[in-house]
Symmetry: C2
């Protein structure tokens, strides 16, 4: 008789399984519901994101999406796909190149650029694109375990 | 007879009104509802945040909050208080020092460190604390307009 499957298997990679050039991505369209919910849970209730009539009061011409909602899609890839569940965020540098509009489809991609065995650190290029335009770029630094805690004793 | 008030007045500061040392903050406790909603809108559905039984499968010992939910509180201060509504994010560097637990109260604070008139850039120290512990630190770089678009013609 087989054992019951684990309710949540670890998805992703251990440190030893990672190598330079591995890449993964996540895509999602921002929408009004996302923006309203994000405003509520973050407290970022800014009419630039929430009131389409407001941006002309500022230097912007149109409503934009919350930058931190866009960049959350980077952490989605890191935390759920590559490296995956066990990784721990150490740094994330974000360079914003262009605004994202409230209905834009955002494509986030991470590519591993360095696997440093001495420091037990993984570095990755992180980018969000809308179409061919890079809207957010920069680098992430992560700790990735080499085994399950249960196996480390 | 007075004119009707604007539905959304601009809240915050123009570039010329900012100076080094100005500071503002926002505090909010992470909770389970926030985490579940954030997972849904970001796609970051990781059992480390969502299943309290899971973290022992990893190197972590307890559930943690989404890092990008914690750091969103920095953008809340920047976008709604200081500099406020009209500012545009150029860079945000994030250094994660300690995990945030799902019910932790997070206190985010930003302090202006440089107002560069030549580049029309504002730089700010950005920090999130849980109690006395810094959980996220680093720097933001922003563009802040000097007047309303409507007045710039």
């Amino acid at each position: 008789m087989n054992a019951l499957p684990e309710a949540n298997d670890i998805r992703g990679y251990y440190f030893k399984d990672l190598s330079v050039g591995m890449t993964d991505s996540y895509a999602k369209a921002i929408n009004k519901t996302n923006s309203v919910l994000f405003a509520g849970i973050s407290g970022h209730v800014n009419p630039i994101q929430l009131n389409e009539e407001f941006p002309t009061e500022t230097m912007l011409e149109v409503s934009i999406a919350h930058d931190m909602l866009t960049t959350s899609f980077i952490s989605t890839v890191l935390g759920t796909e590559l490296p995956g569940h066990g990784c721990i965020y150490l740094r994330q540098d974000l360079h914003f190149f262009a605004p994202v509009r409230p209905s834009d489809p955002v494509h986030s991609q991470i590519t591993i650029t360095d696997v440093n065995a001495k420091k037990i650190r993984v570095y990755a290029d992180t980018v969000c694109r809308v179409g061919e335009t890079s809207v957010v770029e920069e680098e992430a630094s992560l700790f990735v375990p080499n085994r399950r805690k249960a196996d480390a004793a």
